[in-house]
Symmetry: C2
Subunit: 322 residues, 2 copies
C-alpha cells in the first residue's frame, strides 16, 4: 500500500480542467491498493479517487476495467464509478501514466470480518456476478491454470528456501489441479481479488466493492472459492466453518449454484489457495530493494491449501450436493 508517483499540483490543475468537477479543495495520497497509486481528491463537487496505473497494469486491459465499472454502476452495484471528462472519455494521462477518476465510496474495511459480514459479502459477490451479465468486453484470467504453470516454473528452484519441501508440494498440487480443473462451469465476470480490504462496510452491511483491477472472465464458483479463502480463516490459520456456511449460503440465496459448481467447490478452493500461495511466493522470492510494499507471507496460503486438499466435500463449506 503506497503512493508510487508524485503528482505536481500544476499538472493536476491542468488535468482537472478536462473535467466538470469544480475547484480543487484537497488532494492526498492514500495507502490503498498495491499495484497503483491512489489519491483522495476533493473538489467543490464532491470527493473522488484518482488512480494512476503503474507499470504492473497492462494498458490494453484498462478499457475492460473502466468499462466494467461503468457497467456495474449502471446495473446498480455500489462500486467506484468512472468519471467521464468533458470530452466523454474516462481514461486519460497524468504524470506520464494512464489515469482515471472514480467516485468515492464511504465505508470501512474490516480487519477481522465477523459472521454477519461474511454473509453480506456472499450476497454482494452473487450480486456482482449477476450485475456483470451482459458486459461485452472479455478478459482472460491470467492467473488461472496456465498462469500458475509459469509461476511454478519461476518459483520451484527457490521455494525450499522459504520452507523445506515447498517445491514438491506446489509441483504436486499444480499437477493434480491441472489434471482435474473443470472445463465447463457457469462463467462470466469475476472480481478475482475480493479480499476484506476491497470491501467497505457500514456496520455489517456491504457499502461498496472496490479494486476491480484483477477482474476477468472465469468460473463464478472460482470467485466464491477465492472469498472462502480470503474471509473464512482465522489469523491462527483455523478454518471458520460458521463463516464459510454464512458466506456460501448467502451467495446461493442470491445466485443458486448448479450441482457441478457445488461438486467442484473443494477443488476450486484448493486452486484459489495455490494461486495466492504462488503469487505471494513469487513476490517473496523477488523482493525489489527499496520497494514501498512489504510482501505478504506466502505460507498463510500453504496452510489453507493443505486444509482444502483434505476437505472431504462441499459440506465443508456449508453446501450439500443434493
Amino acid at each position: 500500500m503506497a503512493v508510487y508517483t508524485d503528482v505536481d499540483d500544476t499538472a493536476l490543475a491542468a488535468f482537472l480542467g478536462d473535467y466538470a468537477l469544480g475547484d480543487l479543495l484537497s488532494f492526498k495520497g492514500i495507502a490503498e491498493g498495491v499495484e497503483n497509486s491512489n489519491f483522495l481528491l476533493e473538489t467543490t463537487r464532491g470527493r473522488f479517487i484518482l488512480t494512476l496505473f503503474e507499470k504492473r497494469v497492462a494498458s490494453a486491459d484498462l478499457p475492460f476495467f473502466i468499462g466494467l465499472m461503468d457497467h456495474l454502476a449502471a446495473a446498480g452495484l455500489s462500486c467506484p464509478t468512472p468519471i467521464h471528462g468533458r470530452d466523454g472519455k474516462a481514461l486519460r494521462r497524468l504524470a506520464d501514466r494512464p489515469a482515471v477518476i472514480v467516485s468515492f465510496l464511504t465505508g470501512i474495511s474490516p480487519r477481522r470480518p465477523n459472521v454477519a459480514q461474511c454473509a453480506s459479502v456472499g450476497t454482494a459477490l452473487a450480486r456482482l456476478h449477476r450485475a456483470g451479465e451482459g458486459f461485452s468486453i472479455r478478459r482472460a484470467n491470467a492467473l488461472s491454470v496456465a498462469g500458475w504453470h509459469r509461476l511454478v516454473d519461476d518459483c520451484k528452484a527457490m521455494a525450499d528456501t522459504v520452507k523445506p519441501g515447498l517445491a514438491e508440494t506446489i509441483t504436486g498440487e499444480f499437477a493434480h489441479l491441472e489434471r482435474h480443473w473443470p472445463k465447463h462451469l457457469p462463467s462470466g465476470v469475476i472480481h478475482a481479488d475480493l479480499f476484506p480490504d476491497n470491501v467497505f462496510f457500514m456496520g455489517d452491511d456491504v457499502s461498496g466493492l472496490i479494486d476491480f483491477y484483477f477482474a476477468c472472465d472465469d468460473f463464478y464458483a472460482y470467485d466464491l472459492a477465492i472469498c472462502l479463502n480470503a474471509w473464512c480463516f482465522e489469523p491462527d490459520g483455523a478454518f471458520n466453518a460458521t463463516k464459510a456456511m454464512a458466506l456460501s449460503r448467502a451467495y446461493v440465496a442470491e445466485r443458486p449454484l448448479s450441482r457441478d459448481e457445488v461438486a467442484a467447490l473443494p477443488l476450486l478452493c484448493r486452486g484459489a489457495a495455490l494461486r495466492f500461495l504462488l503469487t505471494r511466493l513469487y513476490d517473496w522470492l523477488n523482493q525489489v530493494p527499496g520497494a514501498l510494499v512489504r510482501p505478504k507471507d506466502p505460507l498463510e496460503y500453504f496452510t489453507k491449501l493443505r486444509f482444502h486438499a483434505a476437505a472431504p466435500g462441499p459440506e465443508t463449506y456449508g453446501l450439500a450436493l443434493d
Copy 2:
C-alpha cells in the same frame, strides 16, 4: 510518506467511543508525514486526521506538540486543532502507540511554489511566530548546534562515500557555524520544518500549516532561514532571489526583524542548510532494509550550503541592514 501501523477497525471503534464524534463513515491511511502514521477519518460530525506517533517521536514531547496546536488554534492560526475526548484529554493510545485526532484542513501543497505563494508563506510564518507568544511549555531544539555536532560525528567517517570531500566540508562548516552562531536573538516557538509539503494553499493563499512535530524554541530568524532554504531554490539548484525577496519582505511586514536578526540571516541560512544536509546524510547512510520511505538526496543541501557560504550579506535574501 507511509503508514507504518495497521489499525484494526474494532480497536478504532472502541477508541472513537471516547470522543463525541458521531459514527464512523470512512477511514483511510494517507501518505502524509514521514515520522508518523496518519489516517483520514470521516464521521457523521466531519473529517479529521488521526495520527499515531511512531517510535521516532519521544512521548515526553507530545504534551508540547498538542498544547502548541491548541494554543495556536486558539490564537486564530489555521493549523490542526487537537480534538479532546469526553474526558477532556486529547492524547490517548491506539494500536499500542500514542494517538491524537486533529481537525482536517483543506488546501493543496504546491510542488513548485510560485512567488506569490512564497510571499504568503512569509506572512504565515510571521503570524505563526506571533501566535506562539505566550505559550508556556518549552522544548529545546534538538537539531541546533549541539545536535549537529553529534550528526557530524556520526556521518563523517562515511560521508565521502556519498561525495568525495564531503566530510571535510561538513567538518569545516560545522566549526565555522559553532564559532559564529548567535547567542542572543529574539526567540520563541518556531515550526522548524516549514517545507512546502507542510503548507496548504487555496490558490496563492495559505489555508493551513501542518506537521508541528519538529516545533521547538529557537531564534525566529532561524525559522525564516529554514523557509528560505525550503522555498527559494529551483529544482536545478538555482537560488531564486525574487522568491526570497517576496518571502523575507512579507515576513518583515508582519513581524519586523531587528538589525541583529537581519545581519545574522546569511549565517542562519548556512546553518539551516547544514542541518538538513546532516539529517538527510544520516538517513542516507543509515537506510533500513524494508523501510517504507525513500531517503531524500542529501546533496541538494550541499549545493544550498555552498550558496549561503558565499552570500555577501542579507541583501542576497532581499533585506537591507539600515
